[in-house]
Protein backbone atom coordinates (compact mmCIF):
# COMPACT_ATOMS: atom_id res chain seq x y z
CA UNK A 1 0.00 0.00 0.00
CA UNK A 2 2.81 2.36 0.89
CA UNK A 3 4.30 1.92 -2.54
CA UNK A 4 0.98 2.85 -4.12
CA UNK A 5 1.16 6.12 -2.29
CA UNK A 6 4.55 6.88 -3.74
CA UNK A 7 3.29 6.22 -7.22
CA UNK A 8 0.25 8.44 -6.72
CA UNK A 9 2.34 11.28 -5.36
CA UNK A 10 4.63 10.99 -8.33
CA UNK A 11 1.65 11.10 -10.64
CA UNK A 12 0.38 14.24 -8.93
CA UNK A 13 3.77 15.82 -9.41
CA UNK A 14 3.44 15.12 -13.07
CA UNK A 15 6.12 12.48 -13.32
CA UNK A 16 5.82 9.47 -15.58
CA UNK A 17 4.84 6.36 -13.61
CA UNK A 18 4.29 3.66 -16.16
CA UNK A 19 7.30 1.68 -14.95
CA UNK A 20 6.35 1.86 -11.27
CA UNK A 21 2.79 0.81 -11.96
CA UNK A 22 4.02 -2.20 -13.93
CA UNK A 23 6.26 -3.22 -11.01
CA UNK A 24 3.37 -2.98 -8.57
CA UNK A 25 1.14 -5.03 -10.86
CA UNK A 26 3.74 -7.76 -10.98
CA UNK A 27 4.48 -7.84 -7.26
CA UNK A 28 0.93 -8.10 -5.90
CA UNK A 29 -1.79 -10.60 -6.58
CA UNK A 30 -4.46 -8.00 -7.17
CA UNK A 31 -6.32 -8.11 -10.43
CA UNK A 32 -5.79 -5.34 -12.92
CA UNK A 33 -9.22 -4.01 -12.26
CA UNK A 34 -8.70 -3.82 -8.51
CA UNK A 35 -5.39 -2.12 -9.00
CA UNK A 36 -6.94 0.43 -11.35
CA UNK A 37 -9.66 1.18 -8.81
CA UNK A 38 -7.15 1.57 -6.01
CA UNK A 39 -4.79 3.89 -7.83
CA UNK A 40 -7.46 6.12 -9.32
CA UNK A 41 -9.29 6.27 -6.00
CA UNK A 42 -6.17 7.33 -4.15
CA UNK A 43 -5.25 9.82 -6.86
CA UNK A 44 -8.64 11.50 -6.73
CA UNK A 45 -8.74 11.59 -2.96
CA UNK A 46 -5.29 13.08 -2.67
CA UNK A 47 -5.83 15.55 -5.47
CA UNK A 48 -8.98 16.94 -3.91
CA UNK A 49 -7.31 17.14 -0.51
CA UNK A 50 -4.33 18.94 -1.96
CA UNK A 51 -6.54 21.43 -3.78
CA UNK A 52 -7.49 23.07 -0.56
CA UNK A 53 -4.86 25.19 1.06
CA UNK A 54 -3.36 23.86 4.27
CA UNK A 55 -5.03 26.42 6.49
CA UNK A 56 -8.48 24.95 5.94
CA UNK A 57 -7.52 21.63 7.36
CA UNK A 58 -7.21 20.39 10.83
CA UNK A 59 -5.21 17.23 11.12
CA UNK A 60 -7.62 15.38 13.36
CA UNK A 61 -10.64 16.33 11.30
CA UNK A 62 -9.16 14.67 8.27
CA UNK A 63 -8.42 11.45 10.13
CA UNK A 64 -11.92 11.45 11.54
CA UNK A 65 -13.69 11.88 8.21
CA UNK A 66 -11.76 9.22 6.37
CA UNK A 67 -12.48 6.78 9.12
CA UNK A 68 -16.11 7.15 8.22
CA UNK A 69 -15.43 5.49 4.88
CA UNK A 70 -15.59 1.73 5.02
CA UNK A 71 -12.60 -0.35 5.78
CA UNK A 72 -9.81 2.12 5.47
CA UNK A 73 -6.97 0.80 7.56
CA UNK A 74 -5.18 2.92 10.19
CA UNK A 75 -1.81 2.97 8.51
CA UNK A 76 -3.43 4.25 5.35
CA UNK A 77 -4.70 7.23 7.31
CA UNK A 78 -1.26 7.85 8.74
CA UNK A 79 0.32 7.80 5.31
CA UNK A 80 -2.43 9.98 3.93
CA UNK A 81 -1.97 12.59 6.65
CA UNK A 82 1.74 12.70 6.16
CA UNK A 83 1.30 13.34 2.48
CA UNK A 84 -1.21 16.11 2.91
CA UNK A 85 0.39 17.77 5.91
CA UNK A 86 3.86 16.49 6.29
CA UNK A 87 6.99 16.59 4.30
CA UNK A 88 5.77 14.10 1.75
CA UNK A 89 3.51 16.77 0.32
CA UNK A 90 4.14 16.90 -3.42
CA UNK A 91 6.35 19.69 -4.63
CA UNK A 92 4.27 22.58 -5.86
CA UNK A 93 5.32 21.85 -9.44
CA UNK A 94 2.60 19.29 -9.82
CA UNK A 95 -0.11 21.31 -8.19
CA UNK A 96 1.09 24.60 -9.60
CA UNK A 97 -1.05 26.75 -11.79
CA UNK A 98 -1.38 25.10 -15.16
CA UNK A 99 -4.19 27.08 -16.70
CA UNK A 100 -2.56 30.39 -17.36
CA UNK A 101 -1.36 32.62 -20.14
CA UNK A 102 2.32 32.38 -20.98
CA UNK A 103 4.66 34.16 -18.64
CA UNK A 104 7.90 35.90 -19.48
CA UNK A 105 10.69 33.40 -19.32
CA UNK A 106 13.51 35.54 -20.61
CA UNK A 107 13.76 39.26 -21.26
CA UNK A 108 16.73 40.60 -23.18
CA UNK A 109 17.14 44.16 -24.31
CA UNK A 110 19.57 46.65 -25.75
CA UNK A 111 19.73 50.40 -26.14
CA UNK A 112 21.03 51.69 -29.46
CA UNK A 113 21.76 55.17 -30.69
CA UNK A 114 21.45 55.66 -34.42
CA UNK A 115 24.23 58.01 -35.38
CA UNK A 116 23.54 58.25 -39.07
CA UNK A 117 20.96 56.72 -41.37
CA UNK A 118 20.26 56.72 -45.06
CA UNK A 119 17.77 59.53 -44.51
CA UNK A 120 19.65 61.59 -41.95
CA UNK A 121 23.35 62.36 -41.90
CA UNK A 122 23.16 63.22 -38.20
CA UNK A 123 20.37 61.33 -36.49
CA UNK A 124 21.50 60.71 -32.87
CA UNK A 125 18.27 58.97 -32.05
CA UNK A 126 18.19 56.43 -29.22
CA UNK A 127 16.01 53.35 -29.57
CA UNK A 128 15.40 50.18 -27.60
CA UNK A 129 15.33 46.64 -28.92
CA UNK A 130 13.59 43.98 -26.85
CA UNK A 131 13.58 40.20 -27.05
CA UNK A 132 10.82 38.57 -25.06
CA UNK A 133 10.82 34.79 -24.63
CA UNK A 134 7.59 33.41 -23.26
CA UNK A 135 6.97 30.19 -21.38
CA UNK A 136 5.05 28.72 -24.31
CA UNK A 137 8.20 28.79 -26.40
CA UNK A 138 7.42 31.80 -28.57
CA UNK A 139 9.95 34.59 -28.91
CA UNK A 140 9.13 38.15 -29.89
CA UNK A 141 11.68 40.64 -31.02
CA UNK A 142 10.60 44.22 -31.55
CA UNK A 143 11.80 47.77 -31.39
CA UNK A 144 10.40 50.14 -28.81
CA UNK A 145 10.49 53.86 -29.54
CA UNK A 146 11.57 55.85 -26.52
CA UNK A 147 8.15 57.43 -26.06
CA UNK A 148 6.45 54.02 -26.09
CA UNK A 149 8.97 52.75 -23.58
CA UNK A 150 7.99 55.52 -21.19
CA UNK A 151 4.38 54.51 -21.65
CA UNK A 152 5.26 50.88 -20.89
CA UNK A 153 7.19 51.82 -17.79
CA UNK A 154 4.39 54.03 -16.56
CA UNK A 155 1.77 51.32 -17.08
CA UNK A 156 3.80 48.63 -15.33
CA UNK A 157 4.33 50.95 -12.37
CA UNK A 158 0.60 51.65 -12.35
CA UNK A 159 -0.25 47.95 -12.25
CA UNK A 160 2.21 47.40 -9.41
CA UNK A 161 0.61 50.18 -7.45
CA UNK A 162 -2.85 48.72 -8.05
CA UNK A 163 -1.61 45.29 -6.99
CA UNK A 164 -0.27 46.74 -3.77
CA UNK A 165 -3.54 48.50 -3.06
CA UNK A 166 -5.46 45.32 -3.80
CA UNK A 167 -3.32 43.24 -1.49
CA UNK A 168 -3.83 45.67 1.35
CA UNK A 169 -7.57 45.73 1.06
CA UNK A 170 -9.62 43.75 3.53
CA UNK A 171 -11.07 41.39 0.95
CA UNK A 172 -7.84 39.48 1.11
CA UNK A 173 -7.89 39.32 4.86
CA UNK A 174 -11.15 37.37 4.93
CA UNK A 175 -10.43 33.93 6.26
CA UNK A 176 -12.19 31.11 4.54
Amino acid sequence: IGFLFTVTVNALEGKDCKESVKLIAESTNLSEEQLAFLISGMYTLLREALRLPLSTFKQEVSSGSTQGLDQIPEDFIADFSSIVFGNRRPVSEGTAQRSRLPSVQDFKWRVDVAISTSSLARALQPSILMLLKLSDGTAHRFEVPVAKFQELRYNVALILKEMNDLEKRSILKIQD
Binding site: S99, R100, T117, Q125, L134, F142, E143, V156, I159
Partner: protein, 199 residues
Protein backbone atom coordinates in the same frame (compact mmCIF):
# COMPACT_ATOMS: atom_id res chain seq x y z
CA UNK B 1 30.16 77.25 -50.48
CA UNK B 2 29.75 73.60 -49.52
CA UNK B 3 29.72 70.90 -52.17
CA UNK B 4 26.52 71.06 -54.21
CA UNK B 5 23.80 69.05 -52.60
CA UNK B 6 21.80 68.68 -55.77
CA UNK B 7 24.02 67.34 -58.54
CA UNK B 8 23.54 68.86 -61.97
CA UNK B 9 22.64 65.79 -63.92
CA UNK B 10 20.78 65.66 -67.20
CA UNK B 11 17.45 64.82 -65.58
CA UNK B 12 17.88 67.50 -62.95
CA UNK B 13 18.47 70.10 -65.62
CA UNK B 14 15.41 69.01 -67.49
CA UNK B 15 13.36 69.07 -64.31
CA UNK B 16 14.58 72.55 -63.47
CA UNK B 17 13.60 73.89 -66.85
CA UNK B 18 10.18 72.28 -66.50
CA UNK B 19 9.80 73.74 -63.02
CA UNK B 20 10.75 77.17 -64.21
CA UNK B 21 8.05 77.00 -66.83
CA UNK B 22 5.36 76.03 -64.36
CA UNK B 23 2.97 78.63 -62.98
CA UNK B 24 4.00 79.75 -59.52
CA UNK B 25 0.49 79.94 -58.09
CA UNK B 26 -0.03 76.37 -56.93
CA UNK B 27 3.60 75.69 -56.26
CA UNK B 28 3.77 76.30 -52.49
CA UNK B 29 0.80 74.01 -51.86
CA UNK B 30 2.40 71.26 -53.89
CA UNK B 31 5.56 71.62 -51.84
CA UNK B 32 3.86 71.39 -48.46
CA UNK B 33 1.83 68.39 -49.57
CA UNK B 34 5.00 66.60 -50.67
CA UNK B 35 6.71 67.50 -47.42
CA UNK B 36 3.92 65.96 -45.40
CA UNK B 37 4.17 62.60 -47.10
CA UNK B 38 7.91 62.53 -47.58
CA UNK B 39 8.64 60.20 -44.64
CA UNK B 40 6.23 57.51 -45.74
CA UNK B 41 8.09 54.84 -47.58
CA UNK B 42 6.99 53.63 -50.98
CA UNK B 43 3.78 55.55 -50.92
CA UNK B 44 3.18 57.85 -53.77
CA UNK B 45 1.86 61.16 -52.57
CA UNK B 46 -0.86 61.48 -55.14
CA UNK B 47 -3.63 59.23 -56.35
CA UNK B 48 -4.36 58.69 -60.03
CA UNK B 49 -7.07 61.34 -60.04
CA UNK B 50 -4.92 63.87 -58.28
CA UNK B 51 -2.11 63.27 -60.71
CA UNK B 52 -4.42 63.96 -63.60
CA UNK B 53 -5.56 67.19 -61.97
CA UNK B 54 -1.95 68.20 -61.48
CA UNK B 55 -1.19 67.47 -65.10
CA UNK B 56 -3.89 69.88 -66.11
CA UNK B 57 -3.03 72.50 -63.50
CA UNK B 58 0.63 72.61 -64.41
CA UNK B 59 0.08 71.80 -68.08
CA UNK B 60 2.57 68.97 -67.98
CA UNK B 61 2.54 65.59 -69.65
CA UNK B 62 2.37 62.54 -67.41
CA UNK B 63 6.05 61.69 -67.74
CA UNK B 64 7.13 65.28 -67.19
CA UNK B 65 4.92 65.53 -64.13
CA UNK B 66 6.53 62.40 -62.68
CA UNK B 67 9.97 63.81 -63.30
CA UNK B 68 9.07 67.07 -61.61
CA UNK B 69 7.54 65.36 -58.59
CA UNK B 70 10.48 63.00 -58.20
CA UNK B 71 12.95 65.83 -58.45
CA UNK B 72 11.19 67.90 -55.84
CA UNK B 73 11.07 64.87 -53.52
CA UNK B 74 14.75 64.27 -54.12
CA UNK B 75 15.64 67.86 -53.30
CA UNK B 76 13.59 67.71 -50.10
CA UNK B 77 15.13 64.39 -49.06
CA UNK B 78 18.57 65.90 -49.50
CA UNK B 79 17.54 68.85 -47.39
CA UNK B 80 16.47 66.40 -44.67
CA UNK B 81 19.65 64.38 -44.94
CA UNK B 82 21.94 67.38 -44.54
CA UNK B 83 19.63 69.26 -42.20
CA UNK B 84 19.86 72.33 -44.41
CA UNK B 85 18.87 75.76 -43.26
CA UNK B 86 16.23 77.39 -45.47
CA UNK B 87 18.69 79.99 -46.72
CA UNK B 88 21.22 77.32 -47.67
CA UNK B 89 18.53 75.40 -49.51
CA UNK B 90 17.56 78.48 -51.47
CA UNK B 91 21.18 79.10 -52.40
CA UNK B 92 21.64 75.51 -53.59
CA UNK B 93 18.55 75.74 -55.74
CA UNK B 94 19.52 79.00 -57.29
CA UNK B 95 22.93 77.58 -58.13
CA UNK B 96 21.27 74.96 -60.29
CA UNK B 97 19.41 77.74 -62.10
CA UNK B 98 16.02 77.45 -60.53
CA UNK B 99 14.10 80.73 -60.77
CA UNK B 100 14.29 82.92 -57.73
CA UNK B 101 10.58 82.89 -56.97
CA UNK B 102 10.49 79.07 -57.04
CA UNK B 103 13.61 78.89 -54.90
CA UNK B 104 12.01 81.24 -52.40
CA UNK B 105 8.87 79.09 -52.36
CA UNK B 106 11.08 76.08 -51.51
CA UNK B 107 12.82 78.01 -48.75
CA UNK B 108 9.62 79.19 -47.09
CA UNK B 109 7.93 75.76 -47.29
CA UNK B 110 11.06 74.26 -45.79
CA UNK B 111 11.20 76.87 -43.06
CA UNK B 112 7.61 76.11 -42.12
CA UNK B 113 7.59 72.31 -42.16
CA UNK B 114 11.25 71.31 -42.33
CA UNK B 115 11.87 70.51 -38.70
CA UNK B 116 8.71 68.43 -38.40
CA UNK B 117 9.70 66.42 -41.44
CA UNK B 118 13.17 65.80 -40.04
CA UNK B 119 11.64 64.65 -36.77
CA UNK B 120 9.40 62.20 -38.60
CA UNK B 121 12.42 60.75 -40.35
CA UNK B 122 14.18 60.43 -37.03
CA UNK B 123 11.34 58.31 -35.68
CA UNK B 124 11.49 55.90 -38.59
CA UNK B 125 12.73 52.48 -37.48
CA UNK B 126 14.47 49.91 -39.60
CA UNK B 127 13.34 46.81 -37.72
CA UNK B 128 10.18 45.24 -39.10
CA UNK B 129 8.49 44.86 -35.73
CA UNK B 130 7.62 47.79 -33.56
CA UNK B 131 5.72 48.11 -30.30
CA UNK B 132 2.56 50.07 -30.98
CA UNK B 133 0.06 49.53 -28.21
CA UNK B 134 0.13 48.62 -24.55
CA UNK B 135 -2.88 47.28 -22.68
CA UNK B 136 -3.27 45.52 -19.39
CA UNK B 137 -5.66 43.87 -16.99
CA UNK B 138 -5.32 43.26 -13.27
CA UNK B 139 -7.16 40.16 -12.12
CA UNK B 140 -7.64 38.52 -8.76
CA UNK B 141 -7.54 34.80 -9.32
CA UNK B 142 -9.86 33.05 -6.91
CA UNK B 143 -9.41 29.42 -7.96
CA UNK B 144 -8.42 27.09 -10.73
CA UNK B 145 -8.75 23.44 -11.62
CA UNK B 146 -5.83 22.34 -9.49
CA UNK B 147 -6.13 24.73 -6.61
CA UNK B 148 -9.05 26.21 -4.72
CA UNK B 149 -9.24 29.36 -2.60
CA UNK B 150 -6.36 31.25 -4.13
CA UNK B 151 -6.85 35.02 -4.01
CA UNK B 152 -3.73 35.72 -6.02
CA UNK B 153 -3.43 38.96 -7.98
CA UNK B 154 -2.33 38.44 -11.54
CA UNK B 155 -1.63 41.00 -14.22
CA UNK B 156 -2.07 40.37 -17.92
CA UNK B 157 -0.04 42.56 -20.24
CA UNK B 158 -1.07 42.92 -23.86
CA UNK B 159 1.55 44.28 -26.25
CA UNK B 160 0.53 45.21 -29.77
CA UNK B 161 3.44 44.63 -32.12
CA UNK B 162 3.15 45.86 -35.70
CA UNK B 163 4.77 44.07 -38.55
CA UNK B 164 5.97 46.06 -41.51
CA UNK B 165 4.62 43.58 -44.04
CA UNK B 166 1.15 43.01 -42.72
CA UNK B 167 -1.20 45.68 -41.57
CA UNK B 168 -2.38 43.66 -38.57
CA UNK B 169 -1.19 44.17 -35.07
CA UNK B 170 0.16 41.02 -33.47
CA UNK B 171 -1.02 40.81 -29.87
CA UNK B 172 1.43 39.33 -27.39
CA UNK B 173 -0.08 38.28 -24.06
CA UNK B 174 1.94 37.70 -20.93
CA UNK B 175 0.76 36.93 -17.42
CA UNK B 176 2.60 38.08 -14.32
CA UNK B 177 2.40 37.38 -10.62
CA UNK B 178 3.29 40.21 -8.27
CA UNK B 179 6.84 39.02 -7.96
CA UNK B 180 7.29 38.48 -11.68
CA UNK B 181 5.94 41.92 -12.45
CA UNK B 182 8.24 43.47 -9.90
CA UNK B 183 11.24 41.80 -11.52
CA UNK B 184 10.10 42.98 -14.94
CA UNK B 185 9.75 46.49 -13.61
CA UNK B 186 13.28 46.44 -12.22
CA UNK B 187 14.61 45.53 -15.65
CA UNK B 188 12.68 48.43 -17.17
CA UNK B 189 14.24 50.71 -14.58
CA UNK B 190 17.69 49.52 -15.62
CA UNK B 191 16.90 50.41 -19.22
CA UNK B 192 15.72 53.82 -18.11
CA UNK B 193 18.95 54.38 -16.23
CA UNK B 194 20.84 53.61 -19.43
CA UNK B 195 18.72 56.04 -21.39
CA UNK B 196 19.30 58.71 -18.79
CA UNK B 197 23.05 58.25 -18.98
CA UNK B 198 22.93 59.05 -22.69
CA UNK B 199 21.70 62.59 -22.30
Amino acid sequence: MAAPIVPETESIRKAVSLLNAVAAGRFPRLLSRLLQKLHLKAESSFSEEEEEKLQVAFSLEKQDLHLVLETISFILEQAVYHNLKPAALQQQLQSIHLDQDKAEAFASAWAAAGQDTIEKFRQRVLTPQKLETIGWQLNLQMAESMQAKLKSPRAVLELGVSNEDSKNLKKVFAEFSHQELFEFYNKLETIQAQLDSLT
